[in-house]
């Protein structure tokens, strides 16, 4: 890999860029930059930008990129900073483009069932807006204060992936600013598209390394009129997880199949200051069904409920109102924060394995705790094979933590490879996981990724040192 050289931003650059941006308060330099911009939500990767610019239009993004391109200044895009692998951390300093002010919903096209948005729109605002119009944007990552631009850049998944798929499945078109400042459009409102390589799909999941998304056309569905969740207590985690492949095999299609353990639920209760509606068992499956009437959904879930009882479930609890859903799903949504609150520091793995191996992986995570000397908590999307495991630092010294964490990571990713899994299901690779990506993919795959990067960004100014750049 070549040694890239970058220009360090000086006062002259700041003046020139200020002329492009106009409003002074949308540029932060040196001591004006808050510490937040040096890391993402997990904080393991840290590096400060020299300059933060908050553009309000694609033209401004383009003007900044043109300048950065001419002067070889590295540029890193950032949304809400809720990532977990350091994707938005500027490893070579330079400029952070904070896109959070580009947060307008531009158009709801009810004839084509599309929504056109700027990248800084928050997921929670987006879903509230479409649901007010009886429409539905299914991707449902736990972090609702993430931006849609961030969701696109990591191809975020979330809890409805079992039935509906992930962010990629709901992006029809993108407006992208290329590293040289050119503004291009990939895809569009069309439902089908066989017109050459799908460049839009290259941008999705590229974590800001190929271009900067300045507009997205999203696909919507009619809003299902009713949802019912089932909270299913099992006598053990093993029993719970072993039932998942059988549910999938039964051909019933819940929108979500999540698993959760008592310990994590208790952390969430403490974090939220609110009791969970059930405490009878060690492990639960949480299923969600949607449809257009209570009867239709009841018919769909009865089969799954009976199946779970045959497999040893202690009961099947029904959540059929907004209040009941909140008591369960609010806890589920708070798991990450709750676990974070239960320890001094943590790191995570977000691997995905074929669904039939979920059980093996969960059992493995549980079994290595003693061997590596770390508490490991896990919960996740049992229905799509995407497991989140959190290694907790607790009272370990930094040195000991690093040692044990690395050992745990090595073991877990090795197991994931053995089970034909992948390094990341939805959080991305960023900076923190690129070693594991290298180990899990063939050299050809890594070379192709870097080749694509070279075509888009020959000067390597967009978010360097990420994904396949080792």
């Amino acid at each position: 890999m070549p040694n890239w050289t970058y220009h360090t931003i000086d006062e002259n650059d700041v003046l020139n860029l200020r002329a492009l941006i106009g409003e002074e308060q949308r540029m932060l330099w040196k001591e004006q930059i808050s510490e937040d911009y040096s890391h993402d939500e997990l904080g393991g990767t840290s590096s400060w930008p020299e300059l933060v610019i908050k553009p309000v239009s694609a033209n401004e993004v383009s003007a900044v990129m043109k300048y950065a391109y001419e002067h070889s200044i590295p540029v890193t895009a950032r949304g809400s900073g809720t990532g977990l692998v350091g994707s938005c951390v500027p490893m070579e300093h330079g400029i952070i483009l904070d896109l959070s002010l580009m947060n307008n919903i531009l158009e709801l096209d009810e004839e084509n069932l599309t929504l056109t948005v700027e990248p800084g729109v928050l997921l929670m605002d987006l879903t509230a807006f479409v649901e007010d119009h009886d429409l539905f944007y299914p991707p449902d990552p736990g972090e609702k204060s993430a931006t849609i631009g961030g969701n696109i850049s990591t191809n975020a998944g979330g809890m409805r992936a079992v039935k509906y798929g992930v962010t990629r499945d709901f992006v029809r078109g993108l407006e992208v600013v290329l590293p040289n400042g050119d503004i291009v459009e990939f895809g569009g409102k069309v439902v089908k598209n066989s017109s050459g390589y799908d460049l839009k799909d290259l941008i999705i999941g590229s974590e800001g390394t190929l271009g900067i998304v300045t507009k997205a056309i999203l696909k919507l569905l009619p809003l299902p009129k009713k949802t019912i969740s089932l909270l299913i207590p099992f006598p053990s985690l093993e029993k719970a997880i072993q039932t998942v492949p059988k549910i999938i095999k039964s051909k019933a299609i819940p929108t979500a199949i999540e698993f959760m353990q008592k310990e994590v639920i208790e952390d969430a209760e403490e974090y939220l200051g609110k009791a969970f509606p059930d405490h009878q068992s060690e492990a639960y499956l949480l299923l969600k069904f949607d449809g257009n009437s209570q009867d239709e959904i009841e018919r769909a879930y009865a089969k799954v409920a009976d199946l779970c009882l045959e497999e040893g479930a202690l009961d099947v609890l029904i959540s059929d109102t907004a209040e009941r859903d909140e008591s369960i799903w609010k806890a589920r949504g708070a798991f990450l924060e709750a676990i974070k609150g239960s320890t001094t520091y943590m790191d995570e793995v977000d691997m995905v394995v074929p669904r039939s191996y979920v059980n093996d992986m969960v059992e493995y995570l549980h079994s290595i705790q003693r061997e590596v000397g770390l508490r490991i908590k896990s919960f996740g999307h049992a229905g799509d094979g995407n497991l989140h495991a959190y290694m907790l630092k607790d009272n370990l010294s930094d040195e000991e933590w690093e040692k044990r964490l690395n050992k745990a990571m090595d073991l877990i990713y090795a197991k994931a490879r053995e089970l034909n899994g992948q390094v990341s299901g939805e959080h991305g690779i960023g900076y923190a996981k690129k070693m594991y990506l290298k180990e899990s993919l063939a050299k050809d795959n890594i070379d192709l990724m870097n080749g694509i990067k070279q075509v888009f960004d020959a000067k390597n100014i967009l978010n360097p040192h990420k994904i396949a750049q080792l």
Binding site: K226, F276, P277, L309, D315, L317, I318, T321, E323
Partner: protein
């Protein structure tokens, strides 16, 4: 200890449509659910039952489809259900509703403890519980925050009063209206739902009451009438003020005065 919980079927959505002519809430066709506050009363009953034994029964007043919320209570663990239902009970105000329920309770047996939610989310009066207790001539407490002790002949609770929390010991039988969050309500069980799907619900009509005079029930027995129900207006207009705290306080006071809040 035998406990009776008063439950009501309410519209599922809070976007309730009101008939512009009669001012009555349109219930036909709208999806419905158990009044969320009643779930807290029901959970309180189960917790006391776990300690003291006895039965937890539920009573509801409404049209035949209100049996759905009684079935839901069965799925949560209730033992018996009573539906007070008769055409002549329709259109009842708070007084007639509490009278009808008290008549229904008298015809249903002897209960040591009657539990209600703090209010319903459709009528929102929070008065029916206390009025039932008046008709039954038993003590009652509203805004119950906590059950402290339960004995065969008394119950000790804490109640939320405007300025303080008061702890009181009440002799049984009595009626308590419990506050939200006293306990997290359990979820209905699919297993119990299947097991109770054919359980009989006792339906009480006018002829089953001690007082069978129709003029005491429904619209005829209601001294108050709803003139109009309308959604409150809401405004998203914002004003931003800058200034020292003394100036801002002055400005705020004049604004409140101007808006006739003081």
């Amino acid at each position: 200890m035998n406990i009776l919980v008063c439950i009501k079927q309410v519209p599922e959505s809070n976007k309730v449509e009101v008939d512009p002519v009669t001012g009555v809430i349109k219930r036909d066709g709208a999806a419905s659910k158990m009044n969320p506050y009643d779930l807290y009363a029901l959970e309180t009953a189960f917790r006391i039952q776990e300690k003291m034994g006895g039965v937890v029964d539920v009573i509801s007043m409404g049209p035949p489809q209100a049996q759905e919320v009684i079935r839901e209570a069965f799925a949560m663990g209730a033992d018996h259900g009573i539906l007070v239902s008769d055409r002549s009970f329709g259109g009842a105000d708070v007084l007639a509703t509490s009278y009808t329920l008290s008549q229904g309770i008298k015809s249903s047996g002897n209960y040591d403890l009657i539990l209600c939610g703090k209010q319903t989310i459709d009528g929102d009066t929070a008065q029916v519980g206390a009025e039932i207790a008046e008709w039954l001539q038993i003590p009652s407490v509203n805004n119950v925050l906590e059950i402290k002790e339960v004995h065969d002949d008394s119950i000790t609770i804490s109640m939320d009063l405007p300025q303080e929390v008061e702890v009181a010991k009440i002799s049984l039988p009595c009626l308590l209206s419990v506050d939200q969050d006293i306990f997290m309500p359990r979820l209905p069980s699919y297993v119990k739902k299947k097991a109770t799907k054919d359980r009989e619900i006792k339906v009480l009509s006018l002829k089953d009451m001690e007082d069978t005079d129709a003029s005491h029930y429904g619209l005829n027995g209601s001294p108050t009438q709803v003139q109009r129900i309308f959604p409150p207006t809401s405004s998203k207009e914002k004003e931003m003020w800058d200034g020292s705290s003394a100036v801002l306080a002055d400005q705020l006071f004049h604004k409140i005065e101007e808006l006739k809040f003081v």
